[in-house]
């Protein structure tokens, strides 16, 4: 008799089951690909679910135009390697208005370039299901999020309309215009994700590994100077430090941590010995208490 399934084998099986269920029951699913480590794991699981076929849905990236350049290069390479269609959507209206995280603040910027951009893309392509790589352990308000999260025709998340989820029986029924956001790695923790990346040799954006990079210190955070749009404020200087990123997003909003961890085991080692949670590096969570809850109701992932 074989051994008991390990926790990663069980998590993997659950995620694959969820991904297959979506493809079986929805007519036009899409996988939202944020290029980060969670997306990397989700994409890998999708490939496993349908092997030897490629996943039968496109990848979509809502590009805010402020992503790290290395992320964009990695994104294009992965889509080509996996044989997947890649849809890149930019909120052109936002670009025309010159929305930037520096001048408009992280809250308005995120709302327009991410949330609005996502809604535009979902409407344009009429996707009825969208995979996202969010995990329940990321943030308190996500702890009760469903795996199949129902959204109204105007993309709103209404806590009262969320359906009870029992066993592995997911209610996938929707009316025209409504959609479901699906989180296949809901039950994974940050450690699970890293262990799985290590075990399965999943490629990730090099920014996760420590290297000497140009950074400025701003509001107590290290912000990488990824291009010349980052204007130095009085007193700020560009320093070269060995840094890496625990989480990846828009470069002006994503803090680097000083680190020498240049291999995957070293990254995991550092994560296990560190004393702060990964979302601390994301400015969106600092805006206001309950900000995630509010953003979700408005259509944010």
């Amino acid at each position: 008799m074989s051994k008991n399934l390990t926790h990663l084998q069980q998590l993997e099986a659950e995620s694959i089951h969820i991904i297959r269920e979506v493809v079986s029951e929805f007519s036009n699913p899409v996988m939202l690909y944020s290029i980060g480590k969670d997306s990397a794991v989700m994409l890998h699981l999708a490939r496993k679910a349908f092997y030897p076929a490629p996943p039968p849905f496109p990848l979509m990236h809502v590009d805010t135009t402020w992503k790290f350049r290395e992320m964009i290069a990695f994104r294009d390479k992965m889509a080509a390697e996996c044989g997947l269609d890649l849809i890149v959507h930019v909120n052109e209206e936002g670009v025309r208005q010159g929305i930037s995280p520096f001048t408009h603040g992280s809250s308005l910027y995120t709302d327009i370039m991410k949330t609005e951009g996502l809604k535009q893309a979902l409407d344009r392509y009429k996707f009825d299901a969208a995979f996202g790589g969010a995990r329940r352990d990321e943030e308190k308000s996500r702890a009760k999020e469903r795996i199949f999260s129902f959204r109204s025709a105007n993309h709103r998340w209404d806590p009262k309309l969320q359906r009870p989820e029992l066993w592995n029986l997911y209610n996938t029924r929707i009316k025209p215009g409504e959609s479901i956001r699906v989180f296949p790695i809901s039950n994974w923790t940050e450690l699970d994700v890293w262990q799985y990346i290590h075990l399965e040799n999943i490629p990730i954006v090099p920014l996760y590994y420590a290297a000497v990079r140009p950074v400025v210190e701003r509001d107590g955070m290290l912000i990488m100077v990824d291009d010349d749009r980052l204007e130095l404020k009085p007193g700020e200087t560009v320093q070269y430090k060995s840094v890496r990123f625990r989480t990846l997003g828009c470069y002006p909003l994503t803090a680097a941590v000083e680190s020498e961890a240049a291999t995957l085991p070293e990254i995991i080692q550092e994560m296990l010995l560190t004393r702060t949670s990964e979302r601390q590096g994301r400015m969106i969570d600092h805006d206001s208490a309950g900000s995630m809850e509010k953003k979700k109701q408005e259509g944010y992932f």
Binding site: L5, R20, K48, L169, T189, L199, E200
Partner: protein
């Protein structure tokens, strides 16, 4: 987050290797805030070092601001969100928490509050393997203890921890602990749990949470963490006959046809013979395909892709099964149903029935009886409302493959979906196929006995043991004359005011039941139904004798 921090620092690869072997456990905690449930979960998160510094900082701040421990760390606040949600008017239901030790990863289903308790608890328990039932040592067993335990047994959890919390407030008194444990074991005897482990705890003080407490030297059993890390939960379903609901047919090109699904029971190897439950067609497993290479075998819990040696017609909704032990295939399952929606059940109305294999239109044709979750008494009702539980008969538009829920939680469960609102309105657990379907009156040969004319002896002790609302005795499979063996527990069950429904093949079997009633001074009601004959057996005059003393004052 510094468990095993020395190994992490000195040899991260060895650490990673050892953590690749970790298993996983899902459990649910049942109890109210007053029992210290949030403190208990918070403490487990805390002691497994899964709390980060930024979280600790806000915990310390919150403890001073709104904590209930006089400024000291209030572990319950780790789970908060809930208080904030309540203020914001957001629905509170099931929240999932995560922590891990060197042996296991844990997923905790936390079902807060009194509101919608049944619905939330059933939801959280549906994926749990272990239930922690919290009792306040000062109060002992309450109505809610009984309710929680019943729901836990209904959902098929067999490993139960009776967490006797707040032992510090009764001076760690062994006698009181033993009395609570005995009370509980006596009460739970009819619920069919596999094992009950009573642990004297103080979640607040940490007694017997992780390390054995010096305050309870008389206690020799495991600490809570010790129990959670070691309770064996896997393997049960692997020895069962093979089941795999086909989720997706993978057909990238003409030369490959893979059947994808999650194995619900059993183990499969290359070359094994399989049967399609609905059509009866058989074939052999050619390959078990994965991206990391073909597997020689796969087992319950794994999501796999199988290719078969023969081209047979299989699609989503079919169930692949062991050759010699196929699942039921029928249109009329009987089930325990938990109603989860504000709009009550409309018997006769079409709902969508989603099982592991298929979404099938169907209706509830009859509510046999409802169960009072506080007293476990049965009552005759026309319909089920929010948070009510009953035994119902379903009629599906077409037959489906299924097992009884007791046999398999994956292939024996279903949800009901409202066709118009798409809401999930109920959760179901199949008891069995209804006795006789009009088109299918042939009895299984193995049940017809040796044909020697001797009466068939039927033991009635099992029906009584299944005190989870499953008190149906199905006699429709027997063709020969019947005699009953009656156990004390069976009579005891009736003596508590429960009723037992006998399904008869024909009116001739009535004589055996009538004789049983005569000899045991029982009464019965007789009904002729569309499918045959049914008899409701009960003890007259005892219908209200089963109440538990003590109430938790919640009024629910």
């Amino acid at each position: 987050m510094a468990h095993q921090s020395e190994l992490i620092e000195e040899d991260i690869l060895a650490y990673l290797k050892s953590h690749e072997e970790k298993t996983m456990l899902r459990f649910i905690t049942c109890g109210s805030v007053d029992d210290g449930k949030s403190t208990l979960i918070g403490r487990l998160l805390w002691d497994s070092k899964m709390v980060f510094e930024d979280q600790l900082a806000s915990l310390e701040a919150d403890s001073k601001k709104v904590g209930t421990q006089g400024g000291a760390i209030d572990y319950a606040l780790l789970l908060d969100g809930l208080q904030a949600e309540r203020e914001q008017g957001i629905t509170i239901d099931v929240a999932y928490r995560y922590f891990s030790t060197d042996k296991r990863k844990f997923i905790v289903a936390d079902t807060p509050g009194h509101e919608q308790y049944t619905r939330n608890m059933i939801t959280g328990a549906s994926t749990a393997q272990v239930a922690i039932i919290l009792v306040d040592a000062r109060k002992g067993l309450l109505t809610q203890t009984r309710r929680h335990s019943y729901l836990v047994s209904l959902v098929g959890i067999t490993h139960v921890v009776l967490a006797v919390n707040k032992m510090d407030l009764i001076g760690f008194d062994q006698q009181q602990f033993d009395a609570i444990r005995r009370d509980y074991e006596q009460f739970a005897a009819s619920l069919g749990f596999g094992d009950i482990t009573a642990i004297p705890l103080s979640a607040l003080g940490g007694d017997n949470m992780i390390e054995p407490s010096v305050n309870t030297v008389w206690y020799q059993g495991p600490t809570l963490m010790n129990y959670l890390e070691n309770v064996p939960v896997d393997g049960d379903s692997r020895a069962e006959p093979f089941r795999m609901p086909v989720q997706w047919v993978n057909r990238p090109h003409l030369d490959f046809r893979g059947f994808c699904g999650t194995i619900a029971a059993g183990t499969i190897r290359q070359g094994d013979e399989l049967r399609v439950a609905a059509s009866g067609q058989t074939s052999r497993v050619a390959r078990i395909v994965t991206m990391n290479g073909d597997l020689p075998e796969a087992t319950a819990g794994q999501a796999v892709t199988l290719t078969l040696e023969d081209e047979i017609d299989i699609s989503r909704g079919d169930m692949l099964s062991a050759l010699d032990a196929p699942p039921s295939y029928a249109r009329h399952p009987e089930a325990n149903l938990v109603w989860m929606h504000d709009e009550p059940l409309q018997p006769g109305q079409i709902y969508l029935v989603k099982t592991a294999t298929a979404v099938t239109p169907g209706r509830v044709t009859a509510v046999q009886y409802a169960i009072d979750v506080n007293t476990l008494e049965q009552k005759q009702v026309q319909t089920l409302g929010l948070n009510e539980i009953g035994v119902v008969r379903l009629e599906l538009d077409r037959p489906i493959s299924f097992d009884s829920y007791r046999q398999n939680r994956q292939t024996g469960s279903f949800i009901l979906i409202d066709r118009f609102t798409n809401a999930t309105v109920a959760a179901g657990m199949i008891i069995a196929a209804a006795p006789v379907e009009p088109s299918q009156a042939v009895m299984p040969a193995e049940r017809s006995g040796a044909g020697n004319g001797l009466p068939r002896r039927v033991s009635l002790s099992e029906a009584a043991a299944s005190g989870t609302g499953v008190s149906v005795v199905d006699l429709t499979g027997y063709r020969e004359p019947l005699e009953f063996d009656v156990s004390d527990s069976f009579l005891d069950y009736l003596g508590k005011g429960n009723r037992i429904l006998f399904r008869l093949r024909d009116v001739e079997q009535l004589q055996a039941v009538a004789l049983l009633a005569y000899e045991q001074t029982l009464s019965f009601e007789f009904d002729r139904t569309a499918e045959g004959v049914s008899v409701l057996l009960f003890k007259r005059g005892l219908r209200s004798g089963a109440r538990v003393s003590g109430d938790d004052g919640t009024g629910i």
